[in-house]
Amino acid sequence: MAEAEEHPPKGEHKSGDAHEGAHAEGHGGHAEGPADPLHHIKDKVLLGMAADGKLVWKPYGDHGHAQVGYAPKMIGPMKLEFTKHMAGMTFGALVIFLVVTAVARRVKNSLHHDRAPEGPLANMVESLVVFVRDELVLPIGGHHLEHYTPLFLTYFFFILTLNLMGMIPEFGGVTGNWTVTLFLGVSIWFSLTLLGMYHQGPLHYFLHMVPPGTPWPMWPLMFVLEFLGPVIKCGVLCVRLFANMIAGHLVISNILALGVIGEKLATGLAVAMIFVGVPLALGISMLEILVCFIQAYVFTMLSIIFVSAAVHPEH
């Protein structure tokens, strides 16, 4: 939110900076034409390794134009670059690790004293853990999936934390990056395939994808369809999370951009649009916080359904 409003003064302030030549150029384009609506939510490279092994800070500036003479060092198809979303994800993971291990320590300690843990942090984490276990894993997956509760807890906390972090300006919407959600969807597909093979036996798992009683001429077609089922479901999981999260960020940044657009037309209009846009963006931000929880819940719940279906085909 604040980012969109900060841009004009930031651009003016830095336009004379020699290192930010590309940036200033990019910003010039931004100032004249309508802003790229995806700019705000795009991942940005924070640190890149140039082909000659030199580390470059923000090699693409803020607007995607590479600095003169910069080409990233490649390992196969992988660029040796560290982006904002990678940093955000790492930070989020660190926060989750520190908070949850601290809570775990407190829960263990309080167990020794035969008491329930006290404190808002411990109670919050514990209530979410109990929610995932008692409202999602056990009712959907039954006792066979109870053992894998930590897996789904990690998905839930990872997605929830990154979603919520996306609501803080400058942290970047990590779950609005489709590479990240692609990993999440694909990892669910791997989880359900591996767990299905583990629980049913590898051959049995693939043979029983096709419902029993299918006429044999239909068998190959059904096998392909049934095999594609979880693939598509996991793909949808990826797209759903990505689209929901990015949609919120887009709506908020574009509503706030109303002021910038208004500025091009008349100064008074810009002020009026800010007065309309900021409260509207605030309302949608609150809605987005709700969406952060809902999407983390939906992703976890659907993953449990898919994994449970793979582990127990009869369900």
């Binding site: 995806l38 196969g76 992988m78 670059e81 167990l111 514990e126 930590p150 990056n177 489709w178």
Partner: protein, 162 residues
């Protein structure tokens, strides 16, 4: 932007799996274990409390029964006491009645004896007086044995005529 960024993908894989492993070992495992343990303890406490409540209820019922029995016993003791008291009173009354009857009887007997003695004495007096009078009337001395015999005969006659 719709081509996956390989470096982001690789980084995500690394971060996620490191997080998953660390949390599984150091956080979720202990938390879930502690939760289960606590749930077990709580349900044990609840069942213990239920057992204790049941036992207490049973005890209370038992005591109530005992109290009722004690009340009954007390009532029985009181009733028996009343009966005993009545019996004792009756006995005392009977004894008193018998005693008074005996006393009356004795008194009657003594009266009768006294009457007999008095009559005997009277008779003796009459005999003596008669003899004295007869002697004076007849003016002759009769031997005391004849004298007595005569009077006895006349008394016998008087007695027979009665």
């Amino acid at each position: 932007m719709f081509i996956p960024e390989v470096q982001v993908l690789v980084w995500t894989v690394v971060v996620f799996f490191v997080l998953l492993g660390l949390l599984w070992k150091f956080a979720w495992g202990p938390i879930l274990h502690a939760l289960e343990e606590r749930e077990g303890r709580i349900s044990k406490k609840i069942s213990d409390a239920e057992t204790a409540l049941k036992a207490a209820n049973e005890k209370a019922a038992e005591y109530e029964k005992k109290i009722a029995a004690a009340k009954e016993e007390a009532a029985a003791i009181i009733a028996e006491g009343k009966r005993d008291v009545e019996k004792v009173r009756d006995e005392i009354m009977a004894a008193a009645n018998a005693e008074s009857a005996r006393t009356l009887e004795r008194a009657k007997r003594e009266i009768a004896l006294a009457k007999d003695a008095a009559l005997q004495e009277l008779r003796d007096r009459v005999v003596d007086l008669t003899a004295e009078l007869a002697a004076q009337v007849i003016e002759r001395e009769v031997k005391p044995e004849d004298h007595r015999r005569l009077i006895e005969e006349s008394i016998q006659r008087v007695g027979a005529s009665n």
